[in-house]
Amino acid sequence: MNPTENGPSLSPLIHLLDDDAAVRQSLALLIGTVGLRVQTWADPQQFLESFDRQSIGALILDVRMPGISGLTLLDTLVEQGVDQPIILLTGHGTVDMCRRAFKVGAVEFLEKPVSDDVLLDAVQQAVRQHVRRRERLAADQWARKRYTSLSEREREVLALIVEGLTNKEIGRALSLSPRTVETHRANLFAKLQVDNLAHLIRYYASLVSASP
């Protein structure tokens, strides 16, 4: 089993938005040295319209740009449900600006000129965070799909297994013979493609408690 097999399997892509060409070039080069792909954008509007929302990676936004400020752009992106972690870059950050950025959901707030360690650390951590987030999302979707294939009785049995009951106890609770319970249990493990109880609980505990 592989929970990520249905998600985008592309290598991480960093979107870098800054109105200054020299800054774009140099930061892209620097980020490239750790093997990450970088797509640079000069115009916030164009970026909003055409960047790939499915890509895995992170967004780096300059706060001070003509037309639209990085903070406003941050608001818009969060509103649109963009899930890539966002790193803000600024030439003259204030505590207030920083607080606002974190409140809205930025993961980092860096001051220019930024040191390579700090920037690369932040970018790599953001990418890892995004990969994990996407994996969790994919796993969730995968588990949900499997769960729907269970019969009514099998779901009842699953709920009680997750609660920690033994076959005997489940049989008593559902007025079934322990043998029937054992059959349901085997079918359920097969349908959900899990081979031990730990797996089962990891993927389905939340689904079971959420279902009516």
Partner: protein, 488 residues
């Protein structure tokens, strides 16, 4: 200009109000004084006339008592001399009727009332007869009131007195003085019956106060004084307003310059930050590329080329800034002006501050005006900043007898203005940093005042230096271009 008109209108209204109030108070006081005088004079007249009438009763009583024979009446001339109002004395045996039936009637009345009785009254002429029945003979005296009044004691002048004085009896009246017959806003009057039981005359006094009697002179004087007062107040207020306005102008100029300086600094920071960001990123990327095994030379070389380009860009930002500062145009706005005058104005503006801190200011200025090349507002700002600096240094150090010395020393082609204080002086460590922008030792200071002053001084072709006086205290020396008498 509108506000000026309004000031004058308000001033005029205040003056009008003051003058009216003053006129009312003065007029009332004058009227009260005149009424008092009138009452006192009327009472005196009443008393004097009353005394005379009492004398008449006394004369008749004396005659009735002494019963002088008819023959001896001639010898009563002494009596007439003593009482000039007695014109004649008549005697009649009590069993013989008086020839005049009026007198006879009075005789009967006198017998009944046992006192002297008036008869044959011709008050218009001031004449009447007083008759007393007695035994064996009755007596009568013919009296003339014209002679009864002792004019040297009388409170009213005989002619031309403003008070009308009239004696009345039944429907007859005797005008003692006619008074002035004019119209007027106020009338005083009094009427009293004289105290004599035999001669029950009424004394009426009446005075019309004419407009001419009102205290016009005092009112005019008061109006003039209040006009002067109002003018003085307007003048003082205007002076204060002008001082405030001048201070405000200076402050706005200062804030404006500081603001533009701050904005420039922010813009400069941004313009330098971008190339710095790029240079740092490129250089660090190159380092990483070179550390690879094998080193990735081509991209590293490219990155270094980009860095060089960005360093040039940063340098050009600074060059542009220097040009724009040089071309800020203050030098073009400079013209010959009196340093002494600008100095006096700046000192005047800071006087309240100096007084508040108890600072003694000593000026050593040349006896004549010293003309320099400068722009008045900028020059004023420099001097203001230097003085202000000294004031805060003295205030912070809490010197017991704080002093500031200002000296103007004309040199060949130059003028040096020094501002010295007896504060703690400048920390020698800070001496070469005081003109640095954003350098300050004050917690509330921006650190731009001295830096700005130095820039302004240089823009006017002068300079500003700071040092510590060997005797203690900080000295700031502002050097300016002097305009020589011969060349101007």
């Amino acid at each position: 200009m509108r506000s000026r008109h309004r000031t004058f209108l308000y001033g005029f209204l205040i003056w009008l109000g003051l003058s009216l109030a003053g006129a009312t108070v003065l007029t009332r006081a004058e009227l009260a004084r005149q009424q008092e005088a009138f009452t006192v004079q009327s009472n005196i007249a009443y008393r004097l006339l009353g005394q005379r009438l009492a004398q008449h009763d006394a004369i008749l009583q004396m005659l009735a008592l002494l019963q002088p024979p008819v023959q001896r009446i001639e010898r009563l001339g002494a009596l007439e001399a003593m009482f000039p109002q007695v014109m004649a004395i008549y005697r009649e045996e009590s069993d013989i009727a008086w020839a005049n039936p009026q007198w006879q009637q009075a005789q009967l009345q006198s017998l009944k009332t046992e006192r002297a009785v008036l008869t044959d009254v011709r008050l218009a002429q001031g004449r009447y007869v007083l008759l007393a029945a007695a035994h064996p003979a009755s007596f009568a005296v013919l009296l003339d009131l014209n002679a009864a009044i002792a004019w040297d004691e009388w409170p009213f002048r005989r002619n031309g007195s403003p008070v009308r004085v009239v004696l009345e009896w039944q429907d007859q009246q005797w005008v003692i003085s006619p008074g002035l017959d004019h119209a007027g806003p106020v009338v005083f009057q009094s009427g009293k019956t004289l105290a004599s039981p035999s001669q029950r005359f009424q004394l009426h006094t009446r005075r019309v106060v004419s407009y001419a009697d009102l205290p016009w002179g005092q009112v005019a004087l008061f109006a003039l004084a209040s006009a002067l007062l109002v003018a003085l107040i307007i003048y003082v207020r205007k002076q204060r307003e002008q001082t405030l306005r001048a201070q405000e102008l200076l402050r706005i100029g200062q804030v404006g310059r500081l603001n533009s300086l701050g904005e420039m600094a922010a813009g400069l920071a941004h313009e330098l930050n971008q190339p710095l960001t790029s240079v740092l990123a490129n250089t660090q990327a190159s380092l990483r590329l070179l550390q690879e095994d094998p080193p990735d030379l081509e991209p590293a070389r490219e990155a270094m080329a980009h860095s060089v380009e960005q360093i040039r860009r940063a340098a050009s930002v600074l060059t542009r800034l220097r040009h724009s500062l040089r071309e800020s145009g203050l030098a073009d706005q400079c013209y010959p002006l009196s340093l002494t005058q600008v100095l006096e104005e700046s000192v005047h503006l800071l006087m309240p501050e100096l007084e508040r801190h108890g600072i003694t200011l000593e000026k050593r200025l040349p006896p004549h005006d010293v003309d320099v090349v400068g722009e008045p507002v900028a020059l004023g700002q420099i001097i203001h900043n230097l003085l202000n600096n000294a004031v805060s240094a003295l205030g912070a150090a809490q010197i017991s007898h704080p002093r500031i010395w200002i000296e103007v020393l004309p040199r060949q082609g130059r003028v040096v203005l020094t501002v010295r204080d007896n504060g703690p002086g400048i920390d020698p460590q800070h001496l070469d940093r005081v003109f640095e922008p954003f350098f300050t030792t004050r917690s509330d200071g921006l650190g731009l005042g001295l830096s700005l002053s130095e820039s302004l001084a240089q823009a006017m072709g002068g300079g500003l230096t700071a040092f510590n006086d060997p005797m203690g205290g900080a000295v700031f020396a502002l050097e300016l271009q002097r305009v020589d008498e011969e060349s101007s």
